[in-house]
């Protein structure tokens, strides 16, 4: 009894202390890091190389930007990634970077350059541009002017809308008074109907991603290979911890074709199908909306580490990475009945399902109806899965009608079958064979025993 009381008392003490322990705060370390803005084939990704990692990864023959900073670095357990605390400490160094090919040549000097990058509106995504030096300032200024004009338009719109509202309610009150006094209101009704509501201004659409503020960085545009870099301060000394290896890699294959598969009932969760000649297995409960894209093949480890320097990957594997949508493509659809049909890309709207059931449905976009003031939420190819066909073959033709190699895919509808239990017969067959063999063996043994 005494032992039980002691145990309970100790447990209570432990519990008391455990609940008093404060939550873990990530430990921040001051480090010299290389912040990297690397082009990944479709846009720019931001990452950084800590002091205890020794390699920076970049794609070959493409401009990427590197800056050396001193900041706090901490590990965030929720995302299992390292982060920088730039708000607390964000110190850049004055100097230049020296670079040389690994094991060859002498160090060459790289000076920092003013730059900005932006994406220009076009039919499809990949229109990234880089502006350097004075061009960078001009581009940022151009965006500022556009944005200021837009803000002015918004102010004008608000003023006009206020006037419109005031006039509208004045006329409505006047009409009410006339009606109460028994006078004719048709004329004033015509005036109210002829009032035009001012149009709301839209954001400038020249840029899909406007130019970032002008920064200074070292621009790396290197052929494939391995390099060594180090940072030289203004006094000519090498900054401690700044020596790194740079792995510049190129794509193994280009212009492959992949598909983004969007199911009609879960448009927020598209799936990418990137492997050539692979099969898209679906349950057939809803139609599919697909978007073909070009893809390039990169080393899995190098690409993942370029995207996020503390990420991982398999150095022996190559992975297709999405680049941009195939422009003005057509999809050739063939089903089991040898029916061939060309699918065209069409715009669609995503509408919330009315009523108590939750979810969305994808409907064709019609500019003539109420949706006319909105843009289509989706431009894709509609692949119907209804009917008896269980295998559908698709392939992509480019805008000139030429089939794109590696774009062939099969869509197969997988359904649970009533005859699946027959597969168990196959599993039992070895036992049947065993009994037959044992029976034959026993029979032979008896025969030979009888002969003796």
């Amino acid at each position: 009894m005494k032992a039980i009381k002691t145990a309970l008392f100790v447990s209570a003490l432990i519990f008391l202390f455990v609940t008093q322990v404060p939550a873990d705060v990530p430990v921040r370390k001051e480090q010299v890091v290389y912040t990297i803005v690397a082009y990944n084939g479709r846009d720019y990704s931001h990452t950084f190389c800590r002091e205890d990692t020794d390699t920076v990864y970049l794609i070959a023959n493409i401009e990427s930007f590197i800056i050396l900073k001193k900041t706090f670095v901490y590990f965030w357990p929720l995302t299992k990634h390292w982060n920088m605390d730039l708000e607390t400490l964000n110190k850049t160094f004055k100097g230049l970077i020296e670079i040389k090919g690994k094991g060859r040549g002498e160090f060459k000097k790289l000076n920092p350059v003013k730059y900005t990058y932006y994406n220009v509106q076009d039919e499809y995504e990949d229109n990234w541009r880089v502006a350097k030096g004075e061009d960078a300032y001009r581009e940022v200024e151009k965006w500022k002017v556009m944005y200021q004009e837009y803000l002015q338009q918004v102010v004008d719109y608000r003023n006009k809308y206020e006037e419109y509202r005031k006039t509208y309610y004045e006329l409505m009150n006047k009409m009410e008074n006339l009606r109460e006094s028994g006078e004719d209101v048709i004329e004033i009704l015509h005036v109210i109907e002829s009032l035009e509501q001012p149009a709301e201004p839209s954001m400038p659409d020249h840029y899909t991603v406007p130019p970032a503020s002008v920064n200074e960085a070292f621009i790396f545009d290197l052929p494939a290979g391995e390099y060594l870099i180090r940072f030289i301060l203004e006094d000519g000394t090498v900054l401690q911890g700044s020596e790194k290896k740079v792995v510049v890699f190129e794509k193994r294959r280009a212009k492959g074709v992949g598909f983004e598969v969007i199911p009609g009932d879960r448009w927020t969760r598209p799936v990418e199908n990137k492997i050539k000649f692979s099969i898209v297995y679906v349950d057939g409960t809803t139609d599919l909306y697909i978007r073909p894209f070009f893809q390039d093949e990169y080393n899995d480890l190098y690409y993942n580490k370029m995207m996020m320097n503390d990420g991982g990957g398999n150095k022996r594997m190559y992975n297709w990475e999405r680049m941009q949508q195939v422009p003005q493509a057509k999809i050739l659809l063939m089903d089991q009945g040898d029916r061939k049909e060309f699918l065209l890309e069409k715009p669609y709207m995503v509408e919330q399902v009315k009523g108590s059931s939750l979810g969305y449905k994808i409907v064709p976009f019609n500019p003539q109806d109420l949706n006319g003031d909105k843009r289509p939420g989706l431009r894709a190819f509609h692949v119907p899965l209804k009917g008896d066909g269980r295998v559908i073959k698709i392939s992509v033709n480019d805008k000139n009608g030429i089939g794109l190699a590696g774009s062939e895919r099969q869509i197969r509808i997988v359904k649970q079958s009533k005859i699946e239990k027959t597969l168990f017969i196959f599993v039992i067959l070895p036992f049947v064979a065993l009994f037959v063999v044992l029976g034959m063996r026993t029979k032979r043994y008896r025969k030979s025993s009888l002969r003796k």
Partner: protein
């Protein structure tokens, strides 16, 4: 040459006959087919409106999670790009291939221990003929079981509307050569040791070592472990048949 072929044919027929009479062979085949059934069925239960989603099935969520953690998502995507059959074949074939290899190792060691090999090599056979007979037996039974598995998967593909494609058949061809190297290392282990138990232990150690190294060469590793692994790769890549085969 004729007498050698005749000796190989006679001994390998005897070995095949003995294997076909043993109950373990059929039990392991049934176990393999059952594993294959559950893996294929689990795959069909992991299909939703957008494609293969391992989270829908508890079996495949564990399989995909484990494989992704060890080899990366790119590996898992490629493994299941045509369907479940390559992975199912590997798992279904494992019990039978290990049994065939182990039974050859054990039998070789036993016959060596009792002096039967010496008796044979003074008579109608030589060492090469004896080794070849074991290899022929293992290779033929491998082909037979691979065919059974392929027929089973073809049926499953027809039932569930899955696709048994060229990747699967290329894989089977490569896997056949891989198993030949496995069996030859088994015979090598038997030659080195004096008794069957030691032969099995040595063969198991070789098999586990090579499998771990091969798996390790595909895994995601970081920092110093990756550098160490690269050195190991350089050392053994020239002469390991498993490495060359894959």
């Amino acid at each position: 040459m004729n007498y050698r072929l005749n000796a190989v044919k006679t001994v390998s027929k005897r070995r095949i006959y003995e294997t076909l009479l043993s109950p373990e062979f059929y039990l392991l085949q049934a176990a393999g087919l059952l594993l294959g059934y559950f893996l294929v069925k689990g795959f069909t239960l992991s299909i939703d409106s957008s494609g293969f989603n391992p989270e829908l099935s508890s079996l495949y969520s564990r399989i995909a999670g484990t494989l992704s953690g060890i080899f990366g998502n790119a590996f898992v995507d490629k493994l299941f790009s045509e369907g479940p059959f390559i992975f199912s074949f590997l798992i279904s074939f494992a019990p039978v291939s290990i049994y065939l290899a182990m039974s050859s190792v054990f039998r070789f060691g036993l016959e060596k221990n009792v002096g039967a090999i010496e008796l044979l090599t003074y008579g109608p056979m030589d060492g090469t003929t004896y080794f070849l007979a074991f290899m022929v037996k293992d290779a033929l039974l491998t082909v037979i079981y691979s065919s059974i598995l392929t027929i089973f998967f073809l049926l499953a593909a027809a039932v569930y509307n899955l696709f048994l494609g060229p990747m699967y058949f290329v894989f089977i061809l490569m896997f056949f050569f891989l198993t030949l190297s496995l069996y030859s290392y088994g015979i090598f282990a038997s030659v080195l040791m004096d008794n069957p138990a030691s032969s099995i232990i040595l063969f198991s150690a070789i098999f586990i070592f090579f499998t771990l190294i091969q798996i390790g060469s595909f895994t995601i590793t970081h920092g110093y472990i990756r550098n160490f692994q690269l050195c190991l790769n350089g050392l053994y890549s020239g002469y390991l048949p498993i490495f060359i085969g894959i």
